[in-house]
């Protein structure tokens, strides 16, 4: 068992132990002198009474020292780190409840998420990464306990990713409560695609339900084939053309149809450009298989921001990220657990004991008698 002090500066109060000792010594030195007619009848009782008095004095001093020590230690706020208490630390849970910004969240679910927690806090930030960082900072200020982050809300793909999850300490548990009470929404996204040899514009309808995302394409409108082109060196032309075709076959989000786009593949020359043409230079991808994705990213980056595709993170992924809370952090600040009340109680008991002892040995001087004798 070890002892942690929540206010170790108060241990300076132990210096006050010198006070009762000094009082004891001074009181002994200041014992009054009483001229008396004869000591012949005191001789027999002197040794016994003085020895008893000495013992009582020592007991009284011990009692007073113990009172001061108990008070000083109580002020220092001891926390006894027993095995049982360590186990209790691991049993209790500090819970950060991260609520996503999207959609309406069922308030009852949020409140219920706090049930059984030792301490809890609701955190809402612009991004999940910020929310997790804030949760970790909050955990650092909490007393020793198991730590858990509960994420509640519309868990959309992109808002929550592997990188965010891996940034969280492994000792912190994760739990997900997908909670969407919003009605399914439908987003219309303009798509640039190739149908046959022609470039077309398609209004793609994306509807996000609770458990699935439904995609349907509207009618295709033909557009100029020169609107988007790719140029590459003769050596790279086959790959560039193939990647460009594959990207258009899948469809690329696109809203900027009033401007020509020329993609210059890996430093290819563009020659004379027609007016209202934008040149986008790109490096050759490391792997040929990623070329289509590279073309898609270039075009996505060139287009104005589009509504994000409301695809929810899959249940399998959430299950994979879910993990139980680990052991409490050894760096967690130890809070006062009320152990000082035992010391205050001991000080109070000793105070009563000291009072009784003082009365029993008649240490108090009776002024009236003093005056009469004097």
């Amino acid at each position: 068992m070890s002892i942690f002090w929540t206010a170790p500066a108060a241990l300076i109060g132990l210096a006050l132990l010198a006070l009762p000792i000094a009082v004891h010594l001074l009181a002994r030195q200041r014992i009054r002198t009483l001229p008396y007619p004869s000591l012949r009848f005191l001789r027999q009782t002197q040794l016994a009474s003085f020895r008893r008095r000495s013992i009582q004095d020592a007991a009284l001093l011990l009692c007073r020292v113990a009172i001061v020590a108990a008070a000083a230690l109580a002020l220092a706020g001891p926390v006894f780190q027993t095995a049982a208490r360590q186990a209790a630390y691991a049993e209790r849970i500090s819970r950060a409840i991260v609520v996503t910004r999207y959609g309406g969240i069922d308030r009852e679910i949020v409140e219920r998420a706090a049930d059984g927690a030792f301490v809890s806090r609701i955190i809402t930030r612009l991004t999940m990464a910020d929310a997790f960082a804030e949760a970790e900072r909050w955990f650092d200020q909490q007393p020793p306990s198991a730590r858990e982050i509960v994420i509640i809300g519309a868990l959309r793909r992109g808002d929550l990713n592997e990188a965010d999850i891996s940034a969280i300490s492994r000792d912190i548990g994760l739990r997900f409560l997908p909670s969407i009470v919003e009605t399914p929404s439908t987003i219309t996204m303009p798509i640039l695609a190739r149908r046959g040899d022609a470039l077309v514009a398609i209004d793609r309808q994306v509807r996000a339900d609770v458990d699935a995302t439904h995609v349907s394409d509207g009618p295709a409108t033909a557009i100029s084939p020169d609107l988007v082109r790719v140029v590459a060196s003769p050596r790279d032309t086959p790959l560039a053309e193939a990647a460009f075709g594959a990207a258009l076959d899948a469809g690329v989000p696109w809203a900027n149809f009033n401007q020509r786009i020329l993609i210059a593949w890996d430093g290819a020359g563009t020659g004379a450009l027609p007016p209202n043409t934008r040149v986008i230079r790109m490096e050759a991808p490391a792997r040929p298989s990623a070329a289509a994705d590279a073309i898609r990213e270039v075009l996505r980056a060139a287009s104005p921001p589009q509504p994000r595709e409301p695809v929810l993170v899959g249940a399998d992924q959430l299950a994979a990220w879910t993990r139980p809370p680990g052991a409490p952090s050894p760096q967690a600040p130890i809070a006062d657990e009320g152990d000082r009340r035992w010391l205050w109680g001991a000080a109070l008991f000793l105070l009563l004991f000291e009072w009784r002892m003082r009365r029993s040995i008649g240490a108090q001087v009776e002024p009236a008698t003093e005056a009469r004798v004097a």
Binding site: I31, L34, P37, L39, R40, F41, S49, G362, T369, E370
Partner: protein, 290 residues
């Protein structure tokens, strides 16, 4: 020094109706209240003795002769005046509480009574020197007596036994000796008192004590310093009180027993307690025994 400094008029007036008489015979020069060792022809019948030629025939008891056919001469007790010497303890042990003041007051009261009844009174106290007022009678002597009493103060090195030893040498005729002391030097003092009694003096011992030393009524631990020897003891009175009171009372009883065994009158007075009833009881009782 006026007598009011030693004894109050109230204390005197309340006891003025009493007499301090001797129990035993004393030697005196004048006729007085006290029995004389000399049998003569006076007012108080004492005894018969066989007629011897030369006896005054007027003292022959003719009625006895008629009954017994023998001649007896009636003898009468003569009374005389007495000389009282107050031997006061002024040792250091008397300097505690009000017991010295009490002793001085008692000496003044009894001295006044003695002088009032026509007897002689004197004072003897010894410290580094002897303070002696020889026993004389007459009211003019009262002022001298009280003045000497007022000048006495406790703190002397000599014990009461030394004063008694000097008294034994000073007193030439049998008289009354009143000893006022706390009697802490009891063995020596009682030895001297016994000597005085055996010399034929009528000895009265008045032991004056303070209440605090009888009951150890002292609060709180203290270093007790013996007034006589300077010895020091640290004592917690509450713890020592019971044993002290037992020992002290045992000692008082032993002192009283030793004195009474010798036929010496003993009176114990505690400072602070009413003086008049105690003295009255003592004097009346003594008168009854004489």
């Amino acid at each position: 020094m006026s007598r009011s400094h030693v004894v109050t008029s109230t204390e005197l007036q309340s006891l003025r109706d009493l007499e301090l008489v001797t129990k035993s015979t004393v030697d005196g020069l004048r006729q007085g209240l006290h029995r004389s060792p000399f049998h003569g022809y006076s007012a108080e019948f004492s005894q018969y003795r066989h007629y011897r030629p030369g006896d005054d025939l007027k003292y022959v008891d003719w009625k006895a002769f008629a009954r017994t056919d023998r001649l007896y001469t009636r003898q009468f007790r003569e009374t005389t005046n007495a000389a009282a010497l107050f031997v006061i303890d002024i040792s250091k042990s008397m300097d505690f509480g009000a017991k010295f003041v009490l002793a001085r007051t008692v000496a003044a009261v009894l001295g006044t009574l003695v002088l009032d009844q026509g007897d002689a009174a004197g004072v003897l106290a010894v410290d580094d020197r002897a303070h002696l007022v020889p026993a004389r009678s007459g009211h003019h002597h009262l002022r001298v007596l009280l003045s000497e009493l007022a000048s006495l103060a406790p703190g002397g090195a000599a014990s009461i036994a030394e004063a008694l030893r000097r008294a034994a040498t000073i007193l030439k005729r049998r008289g009354l000796v009143v000893v006022l002391s706390d009697l802490y030097e009891d063995e020596e003092a009682i030895g001297q008192i016994r000597r005085l009694a055996r010399m034929g003096h009528d000895v009265i011992v008045i032991q004056t004590l303070s209440r605090a030393e009888v009951t150890l009524d002292v609060g709180g631990a203290a270093e007790f310093v013996d007034l006589e020897s300077g010895q020091r003891l640290t004592v917690q009175p509450s713890a020592a009180r019971a044993a002290y009171v037992d020992a002290f009372n045992g000692w008082l009883a032993r002192v009283e027993q030793q004195l009474r065994r010798e036929g010496i009158d003993y009176l114990r007075l505690i400072a602070g307690e009413p003086l008049e009833p105690a003295l009255r009881r003592f004097l009346v009782g003594r008168r009854g025994r004489s």
